[in-house]
């Protein structure tokens, strides 16, 4: 068994006992990166020296008997949306290609405090806009289960790095499914916490009212442990809630007996759903029922408006959030004969097609004369979508659905058809619009040996229960232990 086959918590225990060192763990990851990442292309930048230096410090802390916690010394990857001091942060965009942040963001500081060496920055759709990582300005990431396929996105680099065991865990961000969908497509576990659970300070913004940081791991306990490290109230983010995080591992093994799990009718009726995905998810729900949960049909009638709602609100916020990339202070500047020309050329050359498309959509939705019909209407529908969940959660403890309507798709297959690409997110979007916690875990495989994800949505601040349900399923199955057929280089 290689060290990289261990889960984060298993490795953490071995680091604690001295059976393995953090430097060995980092070296094992780097060796896999060297062997595999030329094909997978999960990382935009690998920080060998930095990761080894942090590993040495972690090993010294252990020797001195002052380990920082269960993850001290466990190496992780970071989506390239997290600001890291001294290490470039590109957001997958040409416009930030040369950008180096002067300080770490809050979650990065928390990871450093938890002692996790940072292996590097993982690839992503530009500014997290996309569902395939093909919108990266640099290169597409490939799915470790089949290199012709996409790992999903936008946190596709993080998902691929974890699935290919180049990192023990990783952080992603999720605005409309960007953690859960790639987790589903790569057979990993991904959690989008409740909006306000994790600080957004030092995370390049896409859509501020929807963005949330979350863990991407190989199994559910790791997901809980990594969430634990970052779920800290941050006064530096005014939308970070002053809600204390419980011990996410404390009751993770307590099972689902007596829980009521909702099955939204509307979700199973959505068009474009792959029968294999439907079958796997149905089997998973029945398995949970067998473990003692009660399956309850629920109705989320406004779900069918979620996609339209999301594609007004998210681009509207993005059009404003991305206005700061103007060539004046940092990042790319392409000079022009006057100010307007400089703005135009910088943003034309700095942003990719999908980013431009969303800036235009958002600008339009906020324009005088259209605001009421688009943005304001979308906000009202958002409230209705939220209320659907409030209503459902009166009778159930969590809601189950597929994470994505299909398994991994071919690179290039949907990139020229934005609507087909957007449909990938139909199951994941409502969770962001409602600010709920949502988790994806592997619940089966297609005949082509591609992972299928089960999505569990919880009540606000109820990540512990979501993790508990996921863990109950995971314990009885081995989907999360299967490894992608990457073979030797």
């Amino acid at each position: 068994m290689e060290p990289t086959d261990l889960s984060m918590l298993e490795l953490g225990r071995k680091l604690g006992s001295g059976e393995l060192s953090s430097v060995e763990a980092v070296r094992a990851c780097l060796a896999r990166v060297d062997r595999l990442d030329g094909r997978v292309k999960a990382f935009l930048r690998v920080d060998r020296e930095g990761a080894l230096a942090q590993a040495e410090l972690a090993d010294r802390r252990r020797q001195e008997g002052r380990r920082a916690g269960p993850l001290d010394g466990v190496p992780v990857g970071l989506k390239d949306l997290f600001l890291t001091e001294g290490l470039p942060t590109t957001a997958g965009s040409r416009i930030l290609e040369s950008f180096v942040a002067p300080d770490d963001g809050t979650v990065v500081k928390l990871l450093r405090a938890a002692g996790t060496p940072i292996l590097g920055k993982t690839n992503m759709d530009e500014f997290a806009m996309g569902s395939s990582t093909e919108n990266s300005a640099f290169f597409p990431t490939r799915n470790p289960w089949n290199l012709e396929l996409s790992p999903g996105g936008s946190s596709g680099g993080s998902a691929a790095a974890v699935a290919a065991r180049m990192a023990f865990g990783a952080l992603g961000t999720d605005t409309g499914g960007s953690i859960r969908q790639p987790a589903a497509l790569t057979g990993t576990v991904g959690l989008k916490p409740t909006y306000g659970r994790v600080s957004r300070l030092g995370v390049v913004a896409f859509a501020s009212s929807l963005d949330q940081v979350g863990p991407m791991t190989r199994d559910v306990p790791d997901c809980a442990a990594l969430l634990q490290a970052i779920a800290v109230h941050d006064p530096g983010d005014s939308t970070s809630a002053p809600v204390k995080a419980p011990d996410y591992l404390a009751e993770i093994e307590a099972g689902v007996k007596g829980m009521k799990l909702g099955l939204p009718r509307e979700y199973l009726e959505l068009p474009g759903m792959d029968p294999e995905v439907r079958a796997a998810v149905e089997a998973a729900t029945l398995a949970l029922e067998k473990m003692g949960a009660q399956l309850v049909p629920v109705s989320l009638p406004h779900t069918r408006y979620a996609l339209a709602t999301y594609y007004l609100i998210a681009p509207a916020e993005a059009s404003s959030n991305l206005a700061r990339y103007d060539g004046v202070r940092y990042g790319l500047r392409v000079d022009g004969r006057n100010l307007l020309a400089m703005y135009g050329r910088t943003r034309d050359q700095g942003f990719g097609l999908e980013v431009k498309r969303r800036i235009m959509l958002g600008t339009y939705a906020l324009s005088a004369g259209y605001y009421d019909a688009y943005y304001l209407k979308a906000q009202k529908v958002r409230t209705l979508i939220k209320q659907d969940f409030v209503e459902a959660f009166r009778t159930v403890d969590a809601v189950l659905s597929p994470t994505s309507p299909t398994a991994a798709f071919r690179i290039g297959e949907k990139v020229s058809d934005p609507l087909a690409m957007y449909l990938n997110d139909v199951f994941t979007l409502p969770c962001n619009l409602a600010g709920l916690p949502g988790l994806s875990l592997p619940c089966g495989f297609t005949r082509a040996n591609l992972p299928i994800g089960l999505q569990i949505l919880g009540k606000p601040w109820d990540e512990a229960r979501v993790l508990r349900i996921a863990r109950a399923f995971e314990r009885e199955h081995d989907f999360h232990r299967r490894t992608p057929p990457l073979g030797a280089a």
């Binding site: 005014s238 916020e317 940092y330 943005y375």
Partner: protein, 480 residues
């Protein structure tokens, strides 16, 4: 028809900087005059991943203004983004308030030719300032200084209740006085900490329907406000009279040429794409917050003016000058509290010697060296006859310079007048004895000789005789 046949309708939008020590959404200093970009951080530079955190002091100051202007303070107000591109606006949007501002529906009373009038306040909202572009730094490049980026501002929007340029100026002065009294603004138009835009329209007198309004920008002195509005009124009237129509546009006031010129038309107007700021939750005013600030509100300039006139019996002119400077008014009250003599007498000293010396020495009230008690003691010495008015001015100058007790100074300078009736009488007798001819002339009816005799007595007493006593003693001896 002429200008006199038209009724101008004016509304003012005032941007006032709030004098907090740090910026509205970050901890950077608001200090003026630092090296370019010295007071900046990730937030006010608009770096990726930076987030705003509201400075509570800003809210306190804005509520102070809101309550002083009789506004309703909304328990929940909403932050909004105002989107536009400009190099001095680092995020590409300004955080402001739009739909639901912090304060609404207030009023400010001003004096007009037709007596006092209430100008209604539509709203007061909070926002952040932008930075500054510097275009003439050499090398052909424009530079950006973001020290001002994120400095807290309030925008105070009046209803279109103002009817002349003079009223506009009066409103601005009254508003500035209030802000300065509240300690939230330094009232400095020239340095830009108090800026004004005006919405101006005209309609035929007697009409109920407002004309097309034009927005005037860049009015940065009280003098310009009147000039810019008057010019604009004239321009609009002329346009209408020659059969034209006033266009909806924004015009810039050119102070050098004394005229307004078009900056952008309706078609070129910015679409700011306002929407609620997702990085900041709605601003909720906690219970008791407004009440606490109300309790701490100082007496406002207009109330103070009326009190100075009514309870001290001061002329309006005197009261206005005293009240125009809150520390000066406070000092006046402290001195008067000890002195308790005629307030007008004290006011004369304030408007005369005190303000003259303060101006000469460029000294603020806060830097004065003498105490209110010392000032009162000086006046008491004048009242009792111990000091002549002229001598008191000498003593006051020394008090102003060195902050010493007036009696000590007067004694040192030998300025205290002899109050001893016996000594005066003796001197009078000696002078009369030495000047029999003059005495004879006086008694023969040549009364102007008295002046000469007084002078002789004062000379004999080395100038320290109390002139009133000397006069009385002379007249008594001369047989009146």
């Amino acid at each position: 028809m002429s200008v006199a046949d038209f009724q101008p309708v004016i509304g003012l939008e005032v941007h006032a900087q709030l004098l907090t020590r740090s910026k509205i959404f970050c901890g950077c200093s608001t200090e003026f005059g630092a090296a370019p970009n010295a007071h900046t951080c990730l937030v006010c530079l608009g770096m990726p991943g930076a987030l705003p955190v509201l400075n509570e002091k800003v809210v306190e100051y804005a509520v102070r203004v809101g309550r002083a202007l009789e506004c309703r303070i909304n328990p929940v107000s909403i932050w909004a983004r105002k989107n536009y591109f400009y190099p001095d606006l680092p995020k590409g949007y300004q955080i402001s308030q739009y739909d639901q501002p912090l304060c609404e529906h207030g009023a400010l009373e001003i004096d007009t030719d037709d007596g006092p009038r209430r100008i209604r306040i539509l709203r007061i909202h909070l926002e952040e300032d932008a930075g500054k572009n510097v275009h003439d730094a050499g090398g052909g490049d424009s530079l950006v200084d973001l020290n001002r980026s994120g400095v807290p501002l309030i925008e105070i929007v009046s209803e279109p209740d103002i009817r002349s340029s003079a009223e506009a100026a009066e409103y601005l002065k009254a508003l500035r006085d209030v802000l300065v009294y509240l300690g939230v603004n330094d009232g400095n138009l020239e340095e830009g900490s108090f800026r004004c835009d005006a919405n101006v329209s005209v309609m035929p007198k007697g009409s109920a329907k407002y004309g097309q309004r034009v927005e005037l920008k860049n009015i940065n002195s009280f003098r310009f406000v009147q000039k810019a509005i008057d010019y604009e009124i004239g321009r609009q009237v002329e346009l209408i009279e020659s059969g034209g129509k006033v266009a909806m546009e924004t015009r810039l006031f050119d102070a050098v040429r004394g005229e307004t010129r078009s900056m952008r038309s309706k078609e070129e107007a910015h679409d700011y794409r306002y929407f609620p700021e997702p990085d900041l939750p709605p601003l909720r005013i906690p219970a008791g917050f407004v009440e606490r600030i109300e309790r701490e509100l100082p007496e406002l300039p207009r109330a103070k003016l009326q009190r100075f006139i009514a309870s001290y019996g001061l002329p309006v002119y005197d009261a206005k000058i005293l009240v125009g400077d809150r520390p000066l008014a406070d000092l006046f009250e402290r001195v008067q509290g000890v002195y308790r003599g005629p307030a007008k007498k004290l006011s004369n000293w304030f408007l005369g010697e005190l303000l003259r010396l303060m101006k000469e020495e460029a000294r603020e009230v806060g830097a004065l060296r003498f105490s209110p008690e010392q000032f009162a003691a000086l006046l008491a010495m004048v009242d009792s006859g111990e000091l002549s008015n002229n001598a008191a001015k000498d003593v006051f100058a020394e008090m102003f310079r060195a902050g010493r007790a007036p009696r000590e100074i007067a004694q040192e300078k030998g300025l205290i007048q002899v109050q001893d009736a016996g000594a005066v009488e003796a001197a009078v007798e000696a002078v009369l004895a030495a000047n029999p001819d003059e005495v004879e002339k006086y008694r023969a009816g040549k009364k102007q000789v008295l002046g000469f005799l007084v002078g002789q007595v004062m000379k004999a007493m080395k100038g320290k005789g109390n002139p009133a006593l000397v006069n009385a003693a002379l007249k008594a001896k001369l047989g009146e």
